[in-house]
């Protein structure tokens, strides 16, 4: 019997090429062939009107082939970029142009596009373009956006792009009647995905075939394909988009089309030569996307046990200069804020605000880290107000295991009900307390206090809607060699899909893992797909691949049953061989594939067996009614709603009494993503999420000055964690409550590691500081040692410290 691969730590097949330096990332495409290189002139001003662009010096430069400004673009290319996800509440949605026509609204906005022999010359050319501006007052930061002394877009009153309110019950009345109430003001600053590989696009126009091939570092091949076709006025069938190996995405590459994703193919067609654009790091900082910047106000009413009777949250979301990705991030905050809890009533209202800064699109966690920060800070505040253990207050508010499916009475980011399908939060909490040593912590604290050391513990819980729709599909093809070729349309940026999906196929079809090859993100192989975001790949494509493999298996059994003159029910497929159980009678899948495709012409030894004088019943059509030639299976998975993963993190930190440096002593994660396909890969995702969370909680922020200049747009100044900043080890325990919504019982795992970080660090640092600095509350993240130092001074009982 073949060993089941689902659930085992199968080593990754993609590693072989990555480790040899043979990965194929977008900047590697067409190396060694004739290709021209693009560079972009970007606005140096956050808010300005363009009065003149002079490109006269550019074409004199040797090696320059093309320079475009907005005036050179026509038809759909001259219109604004698409607003990808419209929402009725987004009454003032605005998107930028591929090249700015009149006004620029952030430092980094594309103004002109140059194509030259190499990137060096292209940048020389960009330097020769002279632009005249009338300066306008920039709007930077949420307070300035709300004050609306200046407007980002003249026709958007108050800088408010959207206002959305949802309510379940009468939260304000419940708070008014509650025995206890609290208010909190909570802030999270801007950060960004910062994948190690930035954006990049290569395009080749084939005039003989009338086809455009685009390679792009994206999280959605089909999304880019649709946009390229629409903007370049090509039929969809003329455009192929291939996502090669991608050096990390974390959300930023789901936004599309970037100006360069349209300008590069257009230039390739115009010049008749392939064109490549590879973003540099500064460009990634100032012209891709950021996230996280939100300010929140919470009113909460609760009873003596800490049960939340009413929760009223108002928040302001900084969406930057434009809204291509709609309201997804604040909608996720407003809904996923609830986590594993069931407040008796809840009202949430947000305003999504324009600022003269880089656009905001989802970054791993996508609004959840902020929501989790708000909810968990509230839980901690309730526990402090009542003098209760923080785990106890949380447990009091948990949805119980017998309450699933649990409808939170809100509409989620996919337009569907926020209905949790499964989970076991009390069990997770119990595991977490064990893992981190929650009950033993007071003794540990006392022990370290005796040495003059200051430690604190915190925990945070989250629920994450994963596997959002609308669908994904898969195609499974057994070749006559017995090799199995699998295609799914969503893309891969490091999640090991070629391994995890091959595990699913090997199990479902009954073939050897080594014989399965998975292709993702290639519209030639699977033109119907959505993309890789929202922890959806394993749920969506994993399920579709499972279903498609089962279809291929059914077909194999039908054909084999006839060939072996056996009953289908007596057949099994093991290691690529169909056999009649308990007998010697068997046929390999490659031969079944030969038989599945009746031939007139043989092309090799195997195919002779399928020619017209070899097979078939003369009384029947060679391809039976309802059948198709070929041993293939294709299927789609389109769930009614998302499946909800969950988890809890705890951290023990030490804060230096003198310098306020923050050191991580222990980090523990309990995670429930249903059944695990490959635990090694899931744990890797958690490790990476935790590290990004450490960055977001303690180091990473986008520092804009009042003029809208991003002051730290380099890896020198934007502090991403090195190995020296992450926990020495991350303790992980899994809980597996299978999802009832998909055939494999899986839930997404990609984003989870980063969601509770801001909350859990704030809690632990506050806990560490509390004894010496009563009333010190951590209400804004990230927090640096200097900020903690300042907070100490504000809350000191020691007159020397406040001096």
């Amino acid at each position: 019997m073949t060993t089941r691969l689902f659930g085992t730590k199968v080593p990754r097949v993609e590693d072989q090429r990555f480790l040899r330096g043979q990965g194929r990332y977008v900047d590697d495409v067409l190396v060694g062939q004739r290709v021209l290189h693009a560079a972009v002139l970007r606005s140096p001003h956050a808010h300005a009107r363009i009065t003149d662009i002079d490109v006269s010096d550019v074409l004199d430069l040797d090696g320059v082939h093309l320079v475009w400004t907005h005036d050179d673009l026509t038809g759909p290319m001259a219109e604004p970029l698409p607003l990808l996800i419209p929402h009725p509440a987004l009454v003032h949605g605005r998107t930028q142009f591929a090249l700015a026509p009149e006004e620029v609204n952030y430092v980094g906005e594309a103004i002109a596009f140059v194509v030259a022999e190499d990137r060096y010359v292209a940048e020389d050319a960009v330097g020769r373009i002279r632009v005249s501006y009338d300066y306008l007052e920039p709007v930077v930061g949420i307070p300035a956006a709300r004050a609306a002394r200046a407007l980002v877009h003249d026709d958007v009153p108050g800088n408010v792009g959207a206002r959305l309110e949802q309510e379940n019950g009468d939260a304000r009345a419940a708070i008014a009647a509650a025995p206890h109430t609290l208010s909190l003001d909570l802030t999270v600053e801007r950060s960004a995905c910062q994948p190690m590989e930035g954006r990049g696009t290569v395009a080749r126009w084939d005039p003989d075939l009338g086809r455009m091939t685009v390679w792009t570092s994206t999280q959605t091949s089909t999304g880019v394909r649709g946009c390229v076709a629409a903007k370049l006025e090509l039929d969809l069938g003329q455009v192929d988009v291939i996502t090669p190996d991608v050096g990390g995405g974390f959300g930023v590459k789901i936004n599309h089309p970037w100006p360069e994703e349209l300008l590069v193919p257009l230039a390739a067609r115009t010049l008749g030569v392939p064109v490549k654009f590879t973003e540099d790091r500064r460009e990634h900082f100032i012209s891709s996307a950021h996230e996280r910047g939100q300010v929140h106000h919470v009113e909460v009413g609760f009873d003596d046990d800490g049960r939340v009777l009413g929760l009223d949250v108002e928040f302001w979301h900084d969406h930057g200069a434009y809204t291509p990705y709609g309201l997804i991030v604040p909608i996720i905050t407003s809904t996923q804020l609830l986590g594993p809890y069931k407040p008796a009533s809840y009202r949430v209202v947000f305003e999504s605000l324009y600022t003269n800064t880089v656009i905001v699109t989802p970054y791993r966690g996508a609004g959840r880290p902020q929501g989790c920060f708000v909810m968990e800070r509230t839980m901690d505040a309730i526990a402090a107000a009542l003098g209760k253990d923080r785990t106890e207050v949380r447990a009091t508010n948990f949805i119980q295991p017998d309450e699933f499916p649990y409808d939170q009475g809100l509409i989620f980011q996919d337009g569907r009900e926020l209905e949790y399908d499964s989970g076991d939060y009390p069990a997770s909490l119990e595991k977490l307390k064990q893992l981190v040593g929650w009950d033993e912590f007071p003794a540990f604290r006392a022990e370290l206090a005796a040495e003059g050391r200051r430690v604190g513990i915190g925990l945070a819980c989250y629920v994450e809607g994963t596997g959002v729709g609308p669908y994904e599909g898969a195609h499974v093809h057994v070749e006559t060699s017995g090799k199995v070729k699998v295609a799914t349309g969503l893309t891969t940026q490091g999640q090991g899909h070629q391994t995890a999906f091959a595990q699913i196929v090997a199990d479902a079809l009954g073939v050897r893992f080594e014989d399965v090859e998975v292709v993702t993100g290639d519209t030639r192989r699977m033109p119907y797909a959505v993309g890789t975001f929202a922890s959806r790949a394993a749920v969506m494509s994993g399920s579709a691949i499972h279903l498609a493999a089962l279809r291929a298996r059914e077909k194999a059994l039908r054909i084999a049953a006839e060939a072996l003159e056996a009953d289908e029910a007596d057949l099994e497929i093991v290691d690529g061989v169909v056999r009649v159980k308990g007998t010697e009678s068997q046929i390999d899948l490659g031969t079944v594939a030969v038989l599945s495709n009746p031939l007139r012409y043989a092309f090799d030894e195997a195919s002779k067996a399928a020619t017209q004088f070899s097979v078939g019943d003369p009384g029947k059509p060679p391809v039976a009614e309802g059948e198709e030639p070929g041993l293939e299976g294709k299927d789609f998975y389109s769930p009614e709603r998302s499946t909800f993963a969950s988890g809890m993190h705890a951290v023990i930190v030490e804060t230096d009494p003198e310098t306020a440096e923050i050191r991580i002593l222990k980090y523990a994660v309990v995670h429930d993503c249903g059944h695990l396909i490959n635990p090694m890969i899931v744990e890797g995702q958690i490790h990476g999420g935790v590290a990004q969370g450490v960055g977001g909680a303690l180091y990473e922020r986008m520092v804009y000055d009042e003029a809208g200049q991003l002051l730290n747009a380099s890896f020198m100044d934007f502090l991403m964690p090195y190995v020296t900043e992450v926990p020495r080890s991350i303790e992980i325990d899994h809980l597996e409550t299978p999802s009832p919504l998909n055939p494999l019982g899986i839930k997404g795992a990609g984003e989870a590691g980063v969601i509770p970080s801001a909350a859990v660090f704030a809690a632990a640092i506050e806990d560490a500081e509390g004894l010496d600095h009563p009333g010190l509350a951590i209400t804004a993240m990230p927090i640096s040692p200097s900020e903690l130092f300042a907070l100490r001074h504000q809350h000191s009982s020691d007159p020397e410290e406040t001096a």
């Binding site: 080593p11 990754r12 993609e14 590693d15 072989q16 990555f18 480790l19 040899r20 330096g21 043979q22 990965g23 194929r24 990332y25 900047d27 590697d28 190396v31 060694g32 430069l61 040797d62 090696g63 190499d118 990137r119 060096y120 010359v121 995905c193 910062q194 994948p195 190690m196 590989e197 190996d245 050096g247 990390g248 974390f250 540099d280 790091r281 940026q493 490091g494 999640q495 090991g496 890969i681 744990e683 890797g684 995702q685 490790h687 990476g688 999420g689 935790v690 590290a691 990004q692 380099s714 890896f715 020198m716 991403m720 090195y722 190995v723 020296t724 992450v726 080890s729 991350i730 590691g753």
Partner: protein, 162 residues
């Protein structure tokens, strides 16, 4: 006005590449675009991330901070050159596979070259030494947990193989 070109001989992974490049061509770009060795990746182009690390006469250097013309006659090793002559993975490469030390793979070449050189100097690192060895390279996917394990595993494999 055309740029002046310079004849440069780069010795990479034992093979000599004769290229003609402007003086300002970065070594990273020359390796990738002129020599076609795309295994070396460029993550920041300001010497911070370490993805472009190659070995120059056995020492790790950031190829984005060096001009191709100044690498004339040096002995360069890129990730492609770490693989054993028979095509099998070196100890460091195999260790990354064993320990799931990579996800998207973009930063990986820089870690592999850095560790290959580091283990020459410190063949039997403690966990702290393993951390020090990789403390100048950025990875956004793995949280470094399994990269530290990979360093220790690579040392173990090297001992087993020798």
């Amino acid at each position: 006005m055309s740029e002046e070109l310079h004849d440069v001989r780069l010795r990479v992974n034992g093979a000599t590449h004769a290229i003609r490049v402007p003086a300002r061509r970065l070594l990273s770009d020359a390796l990738r675009h002129d020599c076609g060795l795309t295994g070396t990746h460029v993550g920041c182009e300001h010497g911070v991330c370490g993805a472009c690390t190659v070995l120059l006469d056995g020492r790790p250097v950031r190829s984005c901070l060096m001009l191709a013309v100044s690498a004339q006659d040096a002995d360069l090793t890129t990730v492609e050159g770490l693989t054993e002559p028979d095509g099998s993975l070196s100890s460091v490469q195999q260790a990354f596979s064993d320990c799931h030390g990579l996800q998207c793979g973009f930063c990986t070449p820089g870690f592999l070259t850095t560790i290959a050189a580091g283990l020459e100097e410190t063949p039997d690192p403690t966990e702290d030494e393993a951390r020090d060895m990789i403390a100048g390279n950025l990875c956004r996917c793995t949280g470094y947990q399994n990269i530290v394990k990979s360093v220790l595993r690579a040392a173990e494999l090297t001992r087993e193989r020798s």
